[in-house]
Amino acid sequence: MAKVIVITSGKGGVGKTTTSASFASGLALKGFKTVVVDFDIGLRNLDLIMGCERRVVYDFVNVVQGEATLHQALIKDKNCDNLYILAASQTKDKEALTQDGVGNVIDELSKDFDYIVCDSPAGIERGSFLALYFADEAIVVTNPEVSSVRDSDRILGILSSKSKRAVEGKSKIKAHLLVTRYNPERVENGEMLSVKDIEDILRIPLIGVIPESTDVLQASNTGVPAINLKETIVSEAYWDVIGRFLGEDKELRFVNAPRKGFFQRIFGGGN
């Protein structure tokens, strides 16, 4: 039986797809058979972030509607043998997914994979509801910013009341907090919510902090998941997330600003 993990947030643009791509790649590189599924019907982007956009022939909706087999629609990742991608449809509308249809696909994937990573769209409509409905665990991606934190709280409410586990009265979905686009200098200046602030508000355990970095744009430009950009702090931070998810004890890194020199401290700059 596979474990189903939803990458969700409520708010758009916080790093769900970046996280889905890196998280799935990390699990696969650790040796687990992993599939990452794009639930953003009509606005697919996971294929671009994974660098497989030219190899999409059949998509998730084709499989749900019986127009293609799962085997035909799964795209094998170019870097990793254990990793497969199921793209969202770009032409159909978001109502094309049904709860039973998605359930059948998840069941079938469960037979072959260790982990099913569901990349949720923004919002709280059908696509994001179905992305979280079958989840065993959730990674709630949050930016240190008021609207993102509020939307995350709303998603946590939905996870604990509307998901399959909640409806069937099973044990609760295990939710993890992932803070992304974190800028330690701005936090030290009191201009940005700290990790501690966000933990205090959302009250779920932290799985990692991804610092704001220009490397993320480099990654998406080239279609390489950020975790694969060697020797960058973003990659290191995502590897820490993978480690913690798999039960390793990893100390929190990249949450403190580098020490400034004497002149910088007096006159500012270097931010």
């Binding site: 509020r150 709303r154 939905i158 009341s161 909640a166 201009e191 940005m192 508000i201 007096i266 500012g268």
Partner: protein
């Protein structure tokens, strides 16, 4: 922020304001959020709502969506709130609250 900025008060510490605002709004939303409360709401609530709609609709023309029933627990008191919005005459609001 440099020491000079701090000295002249050029930047405000806004993170603490953000935290405080979030704590207040989320405490409010968690309390009144139907999504979060749904598992605790009694099973007869939808039926009550349906029957109330039927009764009110006998006398006044109302939309099915215009009648809202909400149950809330506050410490040792339960509050049943029935809210009927009458659309025909603008923004008239008839509400009836009962405690049990």
């Amino acid at each position: 922020m440099s020491l000079l900025d701090m000295f002249f008060g050029r930047k405000k510490i806004s993170a603490s304001v953000a935290k405080e605002r979030l704590q207040i709004i989320l405490a409010h939303e968690r309390g009144s959020n139907a999504l979060g409360e749904i598992e605790q709401s009694p099973s007869w609530l939808p039926q009550l709502q349906q029957e109330l709609v039927d009764v009110v609709a006998k006398y006044i023309h109302i939309d099915k969506e215009a009648l809202k029933v909400h149950i809330e627990k506050r410490d040792n008191l339960e509050l049943l709130e029935i809210n009927v919005t009458l659309q025909d005459k603008g923004e008239n609001n008839v509400s009836n609250k009962k405690t049990s």
